[in-house]
């Protein structure tokens, strides 16, 4: 039996599970709201509004758990980017995904107790968790309290611009989800990473 590394502490797994569930609810209700159509109702509009608001609030509080957990347990060290040599590392990792993996090569940046993410993962996670999600939370809260938004920005509705930004970032997060799910199948076996995020042990 391969050596197992306890990489995902319980608080992180709970945070991840809540985040994943709320993410899916927000995505489904958000798409339903944005493309609402009286002739083809995905989720009834008023229900979608309620669920979207509720899931958004839960995800926002959950994000605070992520921040607190990350900085209080040292988990944040996995997210620290070293700009020196980053481009080379990213190219190396990308090459592995594009060609190396098909040739049976080993991953250039294997997981160990000090390195949970490869360089590509790290950049993607830092961008998602420290840029995209905060933008979503801020614009989401603003849309929840639209009276707080500047009414007119360069002759455009402030609410519209906020909603547009919320929509653009949601597209990136949707792409993140697809890519995240797919790369999760690239563990030791296609299902091993999914097991890991449930039991905490990396295979």
């Amino acid at each position: 039996m391969a050596e197992k590394l306890y990489l995902y502490p319980i608080w992180l797994r709970i945070w991840h599970a809540i985040n994943a569930l709320m993410f899916l609810v927000l995505l489904a209700t958000g798409i339903s709201l944005q493309y609402s159509n009286p002739d083809f109702v995905i989720i009834r509009f008023d229900y979608a509004v309620t669920y979207h608001n509720l899931a958004g609030i839960i995800l926002s509080f959950n994000y605070l758990i992520f921040l607190f957990g990350n900085f209080s347990t040292g988990n944040n060290r996995f997210y620290k980017l070293q700009l020196k040599g980053l481009i080379e590392k990213l190219i190396k990792q990308a090459n592995y995904y594009l060609t190396g993996t098909f040739k049976g090569e080993h991953t250039p940046f294997p997981v160990n107790k000090n390195r949970k993410f490869n360089p590509l993962q790290k950049v993607a996670y830092v961008a998602t968790m420290y840029v995209l999600i905060p933008v979503m939370i801020i614009t989401g809260i603003a849309l929840l309290f639209p009276e707080t938004i500047i009414e007119n920005v360069f002759n455009l509705s402030g609410i519209y611009l906020t909603a547009l930004l919320h929509g653009i970032v949601s597209v990136f997060l949707l792409l993140f989800l697809v890519i995240h799910l797919y790369f999760s199948t690239m563990g030791k076996t296609p299902s091993s990473n999914f097991k890991s995020i449930v039991n905490g042990y990396h295979e």
Binding site: Y35, S36, P38, F45, F102, G167
Partner: protein, 319 residues
């Protein structure tokens, strides 16, 4: 009575020569009857009026009936700004004390002046009259419920024919409804035996009640839509009011043919579902869809799926 009506119609047609294309009233010139109205407004613009008592020889000061106080600024901003008071009211009002039988004077309705006149064709007064008579305001009340219950001829402004912002149109038109339908409204209770329910309670199904009230007009949901009309007047029974969110929050939002109709006629900029008014002055979830964002996101999503599919293909092939 008929003589007076004919006189008024003649006066209306003279005034109509000065009408501008957008508001129907020349708002730039000095009001035509400014001097003539000064005598009336010397009392009726104030809460206290005074006159010389012929019997005592003293100056009497009295409180004006609040129903008969008119704001001159509002009057001269309104559509009837060029009128003399005695164009609509009896010239006998020029003497004081006013004769008691003047209280029985019959008041004109909108249609008495505006009906059948091509100058006012754009306002569709005949259609408004017809729609009003179908509305609950007409069917559930007696004849005393007339135009003036909602529209004050001494201050009425046409909001939708000028360059007013959507928010100004909404505020003005909603104030018309709110003047009776607000919580604890005395005007409402004057003609109804049932206690008026609180607005926020009967509209509690609306998420963000206050935002809806400041962003759209009551009549968006509470009237039937009839395209030939500029402003709908067929106020529906409450059970027929629009309650489905998607009626507004969708690609085919009914707001396009209602609230946003006025600006859209001027500046229709249909690029798919992209709309000038929706973009500039309002945001309606489900109705605002940026066509470019739609295309770019569909392309990115498609490319991602293709990338994943290609990767899966090679993973299986090279296994």
């Amino acid at each position: 009575m008929y003589k007076k009506l004919i006189l008024l119609l003649v006066f209306c047609s003279v005034i109509s020569m000065q009408l501008s294309a957008t508001t129907g009233v020349n708002m730039e010139d000095e009001p035509a009857s400014l001097e003539a109205n000064k005598l009336c407004f010397s009392c009726h613009a104030n809460s206290i009026y005074q006159y010389e008592n012929e019997f005592t020889g003293k100056i009497d000061r009295k409180a004006m009936n609040p129903n008969f106080i008119y704001d001159t600024a509002d009057f001269y901003r309104g559509v009837h700004r060029h009128f003399a008071c005695t164009d609509c009211h009896s010239p006998d009002y020029e003497s004081f004390p006013h004769a008691s039988e003047l209280r029985l004077e019959e008041m004109y309705q909108c249609i008495d002046c505006h009906g059948g006149d091509p100058t006012y064709a754009q306002f569709n007064f005949e259609a408004i009259e017809e729609e009003f008579h179908k509305s609950v305001h007409s069917t559930r009340h007696d004849e005393s419920f007339n135009c003036w219950m909602c529209h004050n001829p001494h201050s009425y402004r046409t909001m939708t024919h000028g360059n007013n912002k959507i928010s100004e149109i909404v505020e003005y038109h909603n104030q018309t409804c709110i003047s009776c339908h607000d919580n604890y409204s005395v005007k409402f209770q004057r003609i109804s035996d049932t206690l008026k329910p609180a607005l926020e309670i009967i509209h509690e199904f609306l998420p963000n009640f206050e935002l809806h009230f400041s962003a759209v007009r009551c009549i968006e949901c509470h009237t039937g839509s009839k395209d030939t009309m500029w402003v709908a007047h067929n106020i529906l029974p409450k059970e027929n009011a629009v309650k489905k969110c998607v009626e507004c929050h969708s690609n085919s939002t009914m707001l396009i043919s209602k609230l946003y109709k006025y600006q859209n006629i001027e500046a229709r900029k249909n690029r798919g579902t992209f709309n000038a008014v929706l973009l500039n002055e309002a945001y309606v979830i489900g109705a605002n869809r940026n066509i470019y964002l739609n295309i770019v996101s569909a392309i990115l999503f498609g490319l991602t799926l293709i990338g994943v599919a290609v990767h899966v293909f090679f993973r299986i092939k090279k296994k």
